[in-house]
Amino acid sequence: MRIAIIEDDEKMRHELSVFLQKYGYEVCTLENFEIVIEEALNKNPDLILLDINLPLFDGYYVCREIRKHSSVPIIILTSRNTEMDELMGMNLGADDFVSKPYNMQILLARIESVLKRTYKADFAQKLSHNGVSFDLSKGIVEFSGKYIELTKNEMKILHLLMKNSGKIISRDEIMNALWQSDEFIDDNTLTVNINRLRKKLEGIGVYDFLITKRGQGYMV
């Protein structure tokens, strides 16, 4: 998935693209604001992150112009966060509205949900690691011909870990990700979920897949 970032603050643009790349998105940044609309259309992104305070044209104008030619999803990023601004953005055809400074988990969740909404068909993702393959749309894990079905929380946890395979994910990060979908689980519940997930994986012959890093978190 390619995300175009239209943001005039250089540092912000850079950090945002580093951040999104870390989470597996392809990123293109637009820097020439005189031709920003043409460029945005030319690069043919799957999603546009659009700042409102831009030089030359403001974001609302850019949003309206892009909408004239394309239905690519647009998420407006702004430091103006009144209902009025939000309404205005939505009326101009933006798909979502995130206010600065963004909670990164919220931003990611919003991006994901907009992408999911727009590209339903392409989103039937499959993740695989060490022979274990995980079908996100069905919530099914497969290993050497055997299947298990996961609950919502287990799916979320496994998704996060497999997406970041090789990296240690802290317990707080996992909890935060679950909280973003309104599962306000506590420490104990997370432990229970992780153990259950492990048991289920062992049930289909997957051992030592989900590794505990004492004091740091988990990884696959």
Binding site: K11, K100, N103, M104, F184
Partner: protein
């Protein structure tokens, strides 16, 4: 103004008039006038004075009566000059004129301050939006880098952001302009989004959240409510105790919907609980924690007042604190 009061006021004129009449009478008696003529003259002068006084009194009576009535009965006294019209006698006219001029001068003065306040508010508002960009970049940098120092800077950045947000809403709360939009909102949605927004702080501080199963729609501005809920949640985190927990529940009572936010934190002492909405009040907990500014709840109250909601706090020290926000159902309160 009663007649007696009027007479007291004009006593000197009256006295001189009578005195003159007496002198005339004495003069007439000494020059050997007919007693009838003397009595006639005295009566004539007396009647003359009495007529003058009565006419003058009647002219003033209505004007002063109206003025005094307005002064006592009016709610907004600065509109007094609108209620009196020039009565047709000199002092009254001058008084009216003076009232109107002074009123106008005061209005100009008020407009001047209103303008400068509005300008200041606009500046604060744009400043807040300016500062959000560097804060956002900072947070991104924190997110993209690792290390304890970076993490701790990130926590400080979040505090800065919370204070900036407070400044923004403070300036909004005292503005005369109405910069909120009241729409139908899902109460559950509002609560969930506030919890999500605070997820990091809640998880870090090991505060468990329970949102009871309720589903009501309320009429309010989502951004303002978000700010209010944020303040309440961050208070619960700040004043937490062991095994901390925040519970959200809602109830319909009559035509109102009440949202309850209850925590099991350190609570508020009985003598402080009534004063928590006062500006700058920090109380015992403030002295213990030093992080209190006495602004958060004051702002919540002020914003609630503006939105037409009522907010109240009850607590038992060392046990629990409960905040109740009442949303009047239906759109009737929007009219105010």
């Amino acid at each position: 103004m009663s007649f007696v009061e009027y007479l007291k006021e004009k006593a000197l004129y009256f006295f001189i008039g009578i005195l003159c009449a007496v002198f005339v009478v004495i003069l007439l008696i000494f020059t050997g006038s007919n007693l009838y003529a003397v009595a006639y003259s005295f009566t004539l002068i007396f009647i003359g004075i009495a007529v003058c006084v009565s006419v003058d009194y009647l002219k003033r009576k209505d004007f002063y009566k109206n003025l005094l009535f307005c002064m006592r009965a009016m709610d907004k006294l600065y509109l007094l000059s609108e209620m009196v019209s020039p009565p047709g006698f000199y002092e009254g006219n001058v008084l009216c004129e003076a009232l109107k001029l002074s009123n106008k001068a005061m209005n100009d003065q008020i407009a001047f301050y209103k303008n400068s306040m509005e300008e200041y508010r606009e500046y604060i508002e744009s400043w807040v939006h300016e500062i959000k960009t560097p804060i956002a970049s900072g947070m991104l940098i924190v997110e993209n880098n690792q290390g304890n120092a970076i993490k701790s800077i990130g926590e400080e950045l979040e505090k800065i952001d919370a204070f900036v947000e407070q400044a923004l809403f403070y300036s909004r709360s005292s503005s005369v302009e109405k910069d909120y939009i009241i729409k139908e909102q899902s109460l559950r949605g509002l609560v969930l989004s506030a919890v999500r927004r605070n997820s990091k702080a809640l998880i870090q501080n090991k505060v468990f959240v329970e949102v009871e199963d309720f589903d009501f729609t309320v009429h309010t501005d989502s951004k303002w409510i978000d700010f209010i809920l944020n303040q309440i949640i961050s208070n619960s985190i700040k004043y937490k105790s062991e095994n901390s927990k925040i519970k959200f529940s809602a109830q319909k009572s009559g035509t109102n919907i009440s949202l309850f936010i209850e925590d099991n934190g350190i609570g508020i002492s009985q003598k402080d609980v009534g004063r928590v909405f006062e500006k700058g009040f920090t109380g015992e907990n403030g002295r213990k924690f030093k992080k209190s500014t006495g602004i958060g709840l004051y702002l919540c109250k002020k914003l609630c007042d503006k939105l037409g909601l009522s907010i109240s706090i009850s607590s038992e020290e060392n046990k629990w604190t409960q905040v109740e926000i009442v949303f009047p159902k239906g759109g009737t309160h929007l009219l105010s």
